[in-house]
Amino acid sequence: MLRQEINELLTQTGPRTPMGELFRQYWMPACLAEELPEDGCPPIRLKLLSERLVAFRDSKGQYGLIDEFCAHRGVSLWFGRNEEGGLRCPYHGWKYDTTGQCLDVPSEADNSSFAENVKLTSYPLVKIGDVLWTYMGDPATQPPLPEFEFAQVAPEQTYTSKRWQQSNWMQAFEGGIDSSHVTFLHSGGLKTDPLFKGAKGNEYNLNDTKPFFEVADSEGGLFVGARRNAEDGKYYWRITPWVMPCFTMVPPRGDHPIHGHFWIPIDDENCWAYSFDYHPVRALTPEERQAMIDGHGVHSENIPGTYRPTANMDNDYLMDREAQQRGEYYSGVKGIAIQDSSLQESMGPIVDRTKERLVPADSGIIKARQKLRKAALALRDQGVTPPGVDPAHHRVRSAAVVLPQAESFLDAARDDVRVHPGMPVASV
């Protein structure tokens, strides 16, 4: 249960809201690099933190993220012409560069300085890995670039997809640290999904449906440990890192690629779920990459040419009651990603958390909400830089390990949850 004002604090990320200001402290994914595939390609519309923006790649290969609307009379620059060195509004021909600076106002005299004084809001847009990242905060406090491992390994070792989710970002994010739903909702996938199946750890998952949890602070957020019984009186631990505000990783399974998510607010009722898979040691196999493209594992099958899942709320997520009966899909919905999105969207665009009945097993969620709230208020009231801004906080990994009962997962796996470039993940 959360009081209504705290639910509003956590779910509202528009300009000048406390959570909105918190998000504006971080570099975050703005779009996939594939959305702007070449110099001078068509611009794309995108909305982030309730701001409507246009991203484009100019004729020289520079990336820009600027206000969607022309300074003249408010036309959407998505209709713009991507010309030599800038984006030109098709209405009266005003032209802007990637920083939002107006370069040309055709109605003015040739030697007029009018254009110099016109500048649209703009944010940096930087390609790292398969993602174009932006920072929407005060330029004076722009932090160093992000250092998440999935975006730093060689291109052949990583794959990122995204899907539109029709719910507030918190609903999606809370699923990312809610380890206890996996044994139910995703149980079918542990046996059949090409990117999950076959790991020894899956047996522990399926044999012990009542995990124990430990929730511990990390420098950038939390580590949530879920513990299940293994053989010989040992424990199987699945460790999920959260880096504030919205980066989570799923504990690995065997030698499968390791995966995770970014949950990015579009506005208060929609978000992007970015899903990545990478292997720190080797290239993804052609079969693995194809499975990801086909929407297996944490990825989704999207309507071609869009980032909207094929199975969505307009078609009841292609609910298959017979597969539900057979136990093939526990909820009757196919695929890990849509199993999550279907249930999270079913809660409504912004779930009313005053009506929840949480249990102690939800402690990861309780603690994460508290950390977000405290960080947002400390930023607002004292200007404190929140955890997760420092790139050192990004260098975490999930892990799946078997430990003797007496060992604390934090001590025993301290090294396993840090990034060691080129070294394998700790996985069972």
């Binding site: 124990f212 430990e214 709320m313 997520y317 309780i366 604390s408």
Partner: protein, 167 residues
């Protein structure tokens, strides 16, 4: 794949955002009869401060020790005002026990209480708020039975947890 066409009214997508948000508005009863048991001196202070807030049914206690083998009658338990409390009675009707430790002095109680709750099917949660000296033994003693353990808790975690549980 059998996909049936849904009637609009049964579709996952409510017709309007207001409809999607709609919930039957009826007061929700307290979900959990919670007992909060402090395992050491500083933990008792934290429990006392938390007890000053109004709760639906939470009861705050201090465990001062466990005599003998940790049988149900062996616990030295007091209420927050210092009155003696019988564990057997306080556990009857409880469905969650939150244990609070700030150092290793409560480790013996932690294990024995965890076991007593486990045998009665009562869920336990462990909050450990330690300073530099640490509370490794308390954490280890809580671990076997606590469904949830917060080894790096701070004082607000207690009230947040109790509020979330509608205690």
């Amino acid at each position: 794949m059998a996909v049936e066409t849904s009637l609009l009214s049964s579709c996952a997508r409510a017709a309007t955002a207001a409809e999607a948000r709609f919930r039957i508005d009826r007061p929700i009863r307290p979900a959990r009869a919670a007992r909060i048991i402090a395992l050491d001196e500083r933990a008792a202070g934290i429990a006392r401060r938390a007890a000053a807030v109004e709760w639906a049914s939470a009861q705050f206690l201090v465990c001062e020790g466990v005599a003998g083998g940790g049988a149900i009658g062996d616990f030295l338990l007091r209420g927050i005002e210092g009155e003696p409390v019988v564990l057997e009675q306080t556990l009857a009707g409880a469905d969650v026990v939150v244990m609070l430790a700030t150092d290793d002095r409560g480790a013996g109680c932690a294990y024995a209480l965890g076991k007593a709750c486990w045998e009665r099917g009562i869920m336990t949660a462990g909050l450990v708020l330690s300073d530099e000296s640490g509370a490794d033994q308390a954490v280890a003693a809580l671990r076997p039975h606590a469904r949830v353990l917060l080894p790096t808790a701070d004082e607000t975690d207690l009230t947040e947890l109790l509020a979330a549980l509608r205690a």
